[in-house]
C-alpha cells in the first residue's frame, strides 16, 4: 500500500489486514510500561490540515508518535498557505523537506488524489484525512474496527447511516468499506440530503428512521454539516431533529445488541440525544480509542516496508 486515498475500490483483503493489525496493536499496547513501538523510527510524517480538526489530527499525531515516527503538524492558517501558496507547492515543499508521508485534510473533494499524483516522484505516501464531501477512509476503518469489536464480524450485519449523507465523507467512506466487508448498508435521510447518483451505490435508501431501527445491528449518526450547506435542505433544526434525530424514544426501538456510532463532533440534541450518546450502547469513545490503533496500523502498512507494493 503506497497511499490511502479512499475506501471505494480498496481491496477488502487489505482492509482486513489493516484491521487485524490494529487489533494486535491494541492488544500489545494494553498494560505496557512503554506505550511506544520502535517500528517507524526515522520516518517523518507531516499532517497538513486545511480544515479544523481535533480528533483526526490528534489521533494521527499520537499514532505516529507511538510508532516512533517524527510527526510535524502544519495547519493552513499558520503556514505560507496564508501568503497564497498553492496546495501543490506546499506539498512539494514538505516532500523536499523530508516527509515520508503527508496526511492531508482539505475542503476540496479530490485534493488527496491530486496530491498523490504530485508526490509520486519524490515517493511520498499520502493519507486522505478528509477531502471535501468525498472520503475519509481512516474514519471508516476505525468505525469498522469498532463494529467488529462489538458485533464480532461485519458479515451480513445491517448498518443504518443516518442524517446528512450528502455532505458526509464519513458516510461515503463507510458505505463503501462496510459493504465491501460484507455488511448491508441502509441510508436514512431526507431526500434533500442524499447524494446524486445514490441508486448506483451499494446501499438501500429509506426516509423513515422508526421503520429501520428494529432491524439494524448498528446505527451511525452523522453530524449536520451546516458549514457546507448553502440553502434550505430542511425547514428547521427542530424539525430535522424530530424526523431524523436519535432520541431516547427511538433508541428503545433498537435491538438490545445494537451499537450507536457517531464520528464526532456531535451536536447533542440535534442528531443525537445526550442520554443516547452516553448510554452503554454508544461506542463513541471507543471509536476515538480505536482511531489511534487503526491509524497506527495504516502508517505501519504504508511506511514500515521500503519496497511496499503499490
Amino acid at each position: 500500500m503506497k497511499h490511502l486515498l479512499a475506501t471505494d475500490g480498496l481491496d477488502p483483503a487489505l482492509a482486513t489486514a489493516v484491521l487485524d493489525t490494529a487489533d494486535e496493536l491494541k492488544h500489545t499496547l494494553l498494560g505496557r510500561e512503554v506505550k511506544k513501538l520502535p517500528t517507524l523510527r526515522g520516518r517523518t510524517v507531516i499532517t497538513l490540515f486545511y480544515e479544523n480538526s481535533t480528533r483526526t489530527r490528534v489521533s494521527f499525531e499520537i499514532a505516529g508518535k507511538w510508532m516512533s515516527a517524527d510527526v510535524i503538524n502544519v495547519s493552513a492558517s499558520s503556514s505560507s498557505v496564508n501568503k497564497g501558496e498553492s496546495l501543490r507547492d506546499t506539498a512539494l515543499t514538505l516532500a523536499a523537506a523530508g516527509a515520508d508521508c503527508v496526511i492531508v485534510r482539505h475542503p476540496a473533494s479530490g485534493a488527496a488524489q491530486r496530491l498523490a499524483g504530485w508526490l509520486a516522484e519524490p515517493g511520498t505516501s499520502v493519507v486522505n484525512a478528509g477531502d471535501g464531501t468525498h472520503e475519509h477512509p481512516t474514519q471508516a476503518l476505525l468505525d469498522a474496527a469498532t463494529l467488529r469489536e462489538r458485533l464480532g464480524s461485519l458479515k451480513d450485519r445491517r448498518i443504518a447511516i443516518v442524517g446528512d449523507v450528502l455532505h458526509s465523507r464519513v458516510a461515503r467512506s463507510n458505505l463503501h468499506l462496510l459493504s465491501a466487508l460484507g455488511a448491508e448498508v441502509v441510508l436514512v435521510a431526507p431526500p434533500t440530503l442524499l447524494p446524486y447518483g445514490v441508486e448506483s451505490l451499494p446501499v438501500t435508501v429509506s426516509h423513515d428512521l422508526d421503520a429501520e431501527l428494529p432491524a439494524v445491528d448498528a446505527v451511525m449518526m452523522l453530524r449536520v454539516q451546516a458549514e457546507r450547506m448553502h440553502g434550505g435542505f430542511f425547514p428547521s433544526a427542530r424539525e430535522y431533529s424530530i424526523a431524523y434525530g436519535l432520541s431516547e424514544r427511538r433508541q428503545k426501538l433498537l435491538p438490545d445488541h445494537a451499537v450507536v456510532l457517531h464520528p464526532g463532533p456531535m451536536l447533542r440534541g440535534m442528531e443525537i440525544a445526550s442520554a443516547v450518546a452516553d448510554s452503554p450502547a454508544s461506542a463513541i469513545t471507543e471509536q476515538v480509542r480505536n482511531g489511534v490503533h487503526v491509524r497506527m496500523a495504516v502508517l505501519y502498512h504504508l511506511l514500515a516496508s521500503e519496497g511496499a507494493a503499490a
Partner: protein, 202 residues
C-alpha cells in the same frame, strides 16, 4: 495470522532430524533442565515466565510449561511475545501481519523470563524480543530456550536450553513442525533450493 501449516510433503532433498517421539523426549529433557536451573517447585522461588515467540514458539512454550508442571508440581505461567514491530529487517520486506502478544496477568517485572522459540539461527529475532521485553517491563533475568540451534549467529546471543544442536549450511532450511499448527511433530532439514526466498531470520 500467518500460522498456516508448513508443507509436510516429503521430497528428495529432505531429512528428518527429529521424529515426533524425539520432539516429545527433547521437550521433556529441556523441562528438567529448566527445573534444575531455576529451582522451580522449591518453596522459596517464584516460577519463571515462559514467553513463546510466535508462531511456533507459542505452542512450544505451552508444552514446555506443561512438562515443567508435571515434573515439579508447579506449572509456570506462559504467554506470547510478537517481535514483528521490533525487527531490524522490516524495511526490506513487504509489510507482515502481526502475531498475538499475550503476557501473563501478573506481568514480567522481577520474574525470570524464558523466551521460547523453535529455531535459533542469526539471533536477530531474539535481539528483537529483548527490545520488546524491555518495553513490557523489567524482568529479573532473561533466558532463552530453543528446540533447535542451527548455528550461523550474527549477534552475540546464545541459548540457555537447547533441544538439539544441528550443524547446517547457511543455504539449508530447518523447519519445525508442531501438531498444534502443522498437524504433526517433526523437525526437518531441507537442502538448499537455489530460487528459494531468503529464509526467516530466526
Amino acid at each position: 495470522m500467518s500460522s498456516r501449516p508448513r508443507d509436510a510433503a516429503g521430497s528428495a532433498g529432505e531429512r528428518e532430524l527429529l521424529t515426533a517421539g524425539d520432539v516429545a523426549r527433547t521437550i521433556a529433557r529441556m523441562a528438567h533442565q529448566v527445573i534444575e536451573k531455576t529451582a522451580n517447585g522449591a518453596e522459596s522461588t517464584t516460577p519463571p515466565v515462559l514467553l513463546g515467540i510466535p508462531t511456533r514458539g507459542t505452542p512450544l512454550a505451552a508444552r514446555l510449561a506443561g512438562k515443567i508442571g508435571e515434573f515439579s508440581g508447579v506449572r509456570p505461567p506462559t504467554g506470547a511475545l510478537d517481535v514483528t514491530l521490533y525487527r531490524d529487517d522490516l524495511r526490506r520486506r513487504p509489510p507482515r501481519a502481526l502475531e498475538q502478544t499475550q503476557l501473563p496477568p501478573d506481568g514480567i517485572d522481577d520474574r525470570v523470563v524464558i523466551l521460547v522459540d523453535d529455531v535459533l539461527f542469526s539471533g536477530r529475532t531474539i535481539r528483537a524480543a529483548l527490545d520488546a521485553l524491555r518495553d513490557h517491563g523489567r524482568p529479573r533475568a532473561v533466558q532463552l530456550a530453543v528446540l533447535v540451534d542451527r548455528g550461523h549467529r550474527e549477534l552475540p546471543i546464545r541459548a540457555d536450553y537447547v533441544g538439539k544442536n544441528v550443524p547446517t549450511a547457511r543455504t539449508e532450511d530447518v523447519s519445525v513442525l508442531l501438531a498444534e499448527i502443522d498437524g504433526r511433530d517433526s523437525v526437518v532439514l531441507r537442502a538448499a533450493e537455489p530460487a528459494a526466498a531468503p529464509g526467516e531470520d530466526s
